[in-house]
C-alpha cells in the first residue's frame, strides 16, 4: 500500500505546477485550466489526508466532493466571463485586462 505522504507530495507538486502556470500563462483559458488543476491537486491532498483519519477517509472524500461541486460552479462562471470578454474584445489575454491599475 502506498503511504499517503506520496499522494500529498504529488498533490503539492501538481499545485506548484498549476500555480506556476497560473502566474505565467497569458491566455485566460489557460489560466482557468491552471485553476482547475489547482483544485484537483487540493482534492487529491484532502483524500490523501483523509486516508489517515480515524473515519477511514470519508471526511476527505466529502471535502473532495464539495471542491468538485464548487469547482464546477466556478468554472461555469469563469467560462461565462471569459466568453463575454472575448466577444467584446476579440481576444482574451491577461495582459490587456488592467482596468483596475492605479
Amino acid at each position: 500500500m502506498v503511504p499517503p505522504v506520496y499522494f500529498m507530495v504529488l498533490g503539492a507538486i501538481v499545485f506548484l505546477i498549476a500555480m506556476f502556470g497560473f502566474l505565467t500563462r497569458r491566455s485566460l483559458l489557460q489560466a482557468l485550466m491552471c485553476l482547475e488543476l489547482m483544485t484537483a491537486s487540493v482534492s487529491l491532498t484532502f483524500i490523501a489526508i483523509g486516508r489517515s483519519m480515524p473515519d477511514g477517509g470519508l471526511g476527505g472524500m466529502a471535502m473532495a466532493t464539495f471542491v468538485i461541486v464548487i469547482g464546477a460552479a466556478e468554472i461555469g462562471m469563469g467560462l461565462a466571463i471569459v466568453m463575454l470578454y472575448f466577444r467584446r474584445h476579440g481576444d482574451a489575454t491577461t495582459d490587456d485586462i488592467d482596468l483596475l491599475g492605479g
Binding site: M19, D95, I97, L100
Partner: protein, 679 residues
C-alpha cells in the same frame, strides 16, 4: 402734576426737543421749528404754573435732589430748586424765548441750516432754564458751560464769515475766563463742605469768616461779570452781533447775559454777608455809563443795542450792589421783554432794508409802520418813559441807589447822579436811532412777514403792561415774592425826576436829529440848536463818545485782561494791542490746540497705532499658526494620505498575474502565521 415734575419739565422739554431735532431735524426740515416751539410753549405753561404756585408760598416751592454720583466719598447731588426768584425769571425767559422762536421761523426762513439752528437754539434755552432751576452749584455750572457752548455755536452760526468765527471764538474764550471763577468756587466749596447744594452752601457760608466769603463772592462775581458782559469783560458782547438777529434777541435779553445777574441773585445772601456789594456796584455803574456813552456814536443798529444791553445790565448790577435785589430782578425781567422787542424790531428793519448801518436807513417807519411802532414802544420802555415797564423797573433801580445814600451819602450819591446821567443818555441814544431810522422821508420798504410781526406785537403788549408786576402796594407782586415782609419805599419825586431825565434824553435826541438834518443842508440851523450844540451838551458828549471809540478801549481791555498771562508768556515785547490779543487769546489757544494736536498725534495716535500694530502682529501670528499649524495639520493629513495613496497605487497594477502572486504570497504568509500561532 406736582410742582417738582412741573419744574423738571421746564428745562427737560426744550432739551428733549433739541435731542429730537439733533437726530431727526434734517429729515423734518422746516417743520423742525414746530417741535422746538411746541416744547417751549409747554415750558412756558409749566413756568406760569410754577409762578402761580410760588405766590404766597413759604420758602422754596420745589427743592428736590437726586444723587448723581459719588466722588471720593462725597455724594454729588443734582436737583431742582424753584422759589419766587426762579419762577419769575423762568416765566420771563420762557415768554421771551417763545416769541423769539416764533420770530425766528420767519427770520430764518429758507436758511440752509434751519433745523440745526432750532436744535442749538432749543438747547440754549434749555440750559438757561437749567441754570435758573438748578439746586446744585455743579449742576448750575454744567448748564452754564453748555450755554456758553451754545452761544459759541449761535454767534458763529454764519461760520462762513470770518468775523462771525472770530466773534464766536472771542465770546467763548472771554466768558470762559470768568467761568474759571465759577469752577474754582465749586471746587473750593465742594472740598470744604462736601456738598454742592446751593441752599445748604449758603447756610454754611454764612457762618464762615468774612475773608473766605469774600473770596467765594469774588470768584462767583468773576463768572457773572464775564457772562453778563460787565466792564472789563464786556468785549465779547458787541461782536456777538455777528450771529443771526433772533440769537441776539435772545442772547442779549433773556438768556446768556441774564444768567450772570441771576447767579448773583441766587447767591445774594452770600454777597450781602460778605460786604461784597460795593465791588458789584462800582463796575456796574461804570458799565452802565460806559455802555450808554459808546452807544451814542455807534452806527450799527445791532451794536448800538448791544452797548445798550451792557448799560442796562450795569443797572441791574448796581441795583444789586446797593441791596436792591427786587429792583435788579424787576429790571432783569422788564429788560428781557423790551430788549428782545428792540432786537426783533431791529431785525425786522434789517430784514426790510438789507443793511445794519443806521446812516443808510431813512424813514423806515412810513412803510414798516408796525415795526416802527414796536421799536418805539421798546425805545420808550428802555428810556423809562411812564407808564411802560422800563419806567417802573428803572425807577426801582434808582430808588435802590437813593436808599444807599441814607447809609453812605457819598457812595450812594455818586451812584445816583451817574445813574440819572445814564438814564438821560439811554433815552438819547435810543431816540437818536429811532428818529434817525424811522422818522422823516425815506425809501419804500416792505413790512416783514407775519411770523416776525406777530411775536413783536405780543412782546410790545407785554412791555407795556409788565411794569404792573411790581406796583407798590399791590398784594401780589414781585417784591412780595422775593422779599416778603419788606416794605418797599416809593419816592414820588424820584419818579418825577427819572421821567424828566428820560424826557430830556428824548428831547435832546430830537434836537440832535433836527441838527443833523440841518447840517445835511435840508434846513437852516435854528439859533437854539447852535447853543445846544456849541458846548452845552451835545458836543462834549459826542466828543467823549468819539474819543472813547478812537481810544479803542476794547482792545486795551482785551490786553488788560490778558496782561498777566502775557507777562508770564514773555510776549510783552509785542505791543500792538490787536497783535497781543491775537497772540494770547487766538494764537495762544491755537498754540495750545496745536500742541494738544501734537500730543494727540504722537502720544494718543501713537498709542492707538501701537495697539493697532500689536493687534496686527497677534493677528499675523495667529494667522501663521492657522495657515501653518492648523491648516498645515489638515493639509498634512490630506497630503500624507495622498502620498500614501500615490505609493500604494503602484501596487494596483491591474495585471492579473500580480494580483494572483500577492494572493499566493500573502495566503502562504497567513497560513504560516496561523501555523506558527497554533504550534
Amino acid at each position: 402734576m406736582t410742582p417738582t415734575l412741573t419744574a423738571f419739565l421746564v428745562p427737560a422739554l426744550p432739551a428733549a426737543a433739541a435731542l429730537f431735532l439733533a437726530v431727526f431735524g434734517r429729515r423734518m426740515g422746516e417743520r423742525s421749528s414746530h417741535v422746538a416751539i411746541g416744547a417751549l410753549a409747554l415750558s412756558l405753561i409749566a413756568s406760569v404754573s410754577l409762578l402761580v404756585g410760588a405766590f404766597g408760598h413759604e420758602g422754596p416751592l420745589v427743592h428736590a435732589t437726586v444723587p448723581w454720583a459719588v466722588v471720593g466719598g462725597v455724594p454729588i447731588e443734582f436737583g431742582l430748586f424753584v422759589d419766587g426768584l426762579s419762577a419769575s425769571v423762568l416765566v420771563m425767559v420762557a415768554a421771551v424765548a417763545t416769541m423769539v422762536f416764533v420770530y425766528a421761523t420767519g427770520y430764518m426762513k429758507g436758511d440752509a441750516r434751519y433745523p440745526w439752528f432750532f436744535t442749538v437754539f432749543s438747547l440754549f434755552t434749555a440750559c438757561m432754564f437749567g441754570v435758573v432751576t438748578s439746586s446744585s452749584l455743579l449742576e448750575l455750572m454744567l448748564f452754564w458751560e453748555v450755554m456758553g457752548l451754545c452761544s459759541f455755536l449761535l454767534i458763529g452760526y454764519y461760520f462762513e464769515r470770518p468775523d462771525a468765527r472770530r466773534a464766536a471764538f472771542k465770546a467763548f474764550i472771554t466768558t470762559r475766563i470768568g467761568d474759571m471763577g465759577l469752577l474754582l468756587a465749586v471746587a473750593l466749596l465742594l472740598g470744604r463742605y462736601k456738598t454742592v447744594d446751593i441752599p445748604t452752601l449758603l447756610a454754611e457760608l454764612a457762618k464762615e469768616p468774612k475773608a473766605f466769603m469774600w473770596m467765594i463772592c469774588a470768584l462767583l462775581f468773576a463768572a457773572a461779570v464775564s457772562k453778563s458782559a460787565q466792564f472789563p469783560m464786556y468785549i465779547w458782547l458787541p461782536d456777538a452781533m455777528a450771529g443771526p438777529t433772533p440769537v441776539s434777541g435772545l442772547l442779549h435779553s433773556a438768556t446768556m447775559v441774564a444768567a450772570g445777574v441771576f447767579l448773583v441773585c441766587r447767591a445774594y445772601p452770600l454777597f450781602v454777608g460778605a460786604d461784597f456789594l460795593p465791588m458789584i456796584a462800582w463796575p456796574g455803574i461804570f458799565t452802565a455809563l460806559y455802555g450808554a456813552v459808546l452807544a451814542l456814536t455807534e452806527t450799527d443798529i445791532k451794536r448800538t443795542l448791544a452797548y445798550s444791553t451792557m448799560s442796562q445790565l450795569g443797572y441791574m448790577m448796581v441795583a444789586l450792589g446797593t441791596g436792591g435785589l427786587v429792583a435788579a430782578v424787576f429790571h432783569l425781567i422788564t429788560h428781557g421783554f423790551f430788549k428782545s422787542l428792540l432786537f426783533l424790531s431791529a431785525g425786522s428793519v434789517i430784514h426790510g432794508t438789507k443793511t445794519q448801518d443806521i446812516r443808510e436807513m431813512r424813514g423806515v417807519g412810513k412803510t414798516m409802520p408796525i415795526t416802527g411802532a414796536c421799536f418805539l414802544i421798546g425805545a420808550l420802555a428802555l428810556s423809562g418813559i411812564p407808564p411802560l415797564a422800563g419806567f417802573f423797573s428803572k425807577d426801582a433801580v434808582l430808588a435802590s441807589l437813593l436808599g444807599a445814600t441814607t447809609v453812605q451819602p457819598v457812595f450812594g450819591g455818586t451812584l445816583l447822579v451817574v445813574g440819572l446821567m445814564t438814564a438821560v443818555l439811554s433815552a438819547f441814544y435810543m431816540f437818536r436811532v429811532y428818529f434817525g431810522v424811522f422818522r422823516g422821508p425815506g425809501r419804500k420798504y416792505h413790512e416783514s412777514p407775519r411770523a416776525m410781526i406777530a411775536p413783536m406785537v405780543a412782546l410790545a403788549g407785554v412791555t407795556v403792561v409788565a411794569g404792573a408786576i411790581n406796583l407798590p402796594g399791590l398784594r401780589v407782586s414781585l417784591a412780595g415774592m422775593l422779599e416778603p415782609g419788606v416794605v418797599e419805599h416809593a419816592f414820588p419825586w424820584l419818579m418825577a425826576v427819572s421821567a424828566c431825565a428820560a424826557g430830556a434824553g428824548v428831547y435832546i435826541a430830537w434836537e440832535s436829529t433836527r441838527l443833523r438834518r440841518a447840517l445835511h443842508g435840508t434846513g437852516p440851523i435854528p439859533p437854539n440848536l447852535q447853543r445846544l450844540y456849541g458846548g452845552v451838551f451835545l458836543r462834549p458828549v459826542f466828543a467823549v463818545s468819539r474819543f472813547l471809540r478812537e481810544l479803542n478801549l476794547d482792545y486795551i481791555l482785551e490786553n488788560l485782561v490778558v496782561a498777566p498771562v502775557l507777562w508770564l508768556c514773555g510776549l510783552a515785547s509785542r505791543l500792538d494791542p490787536d497783535v497781543l490779543y491775537t497772540a494770547v487769546f487766538v494764537n495762544g489757544v491755537g498754540r495750545v490746540a496745536a500742541s494738544l494736536a501734537a500730543i494727540d498725534v504722537t502720544v494718543v495716535d501713537g498709542a492707538v497705532m501701537a495697539v493697532g500694530r500689536a493687534g496686527l502682529g497677534v493677528a499675523r501670528g495667529s494667522g501663521f499658526v492657522d495657515t501653518r499649524g492648523i491648516d498645515g495639520a489638515v493639509d498634512g493629513v490630506a497630503g500624507g494620505t495622498m502620498a500614501l495613496g500615490r505609493g500604494l497605487k503602484r501596487l494596483q497594477t491591474g495585471v492579473t498575474a500580480n494580483y494572483a502572486l500577492f494572493m499566493i504570497v500573502f495566503g502562504v504568509a497567513i497560513f504560516y502565521v496561523a501555523w506558527w500561532l497554533a504550534r
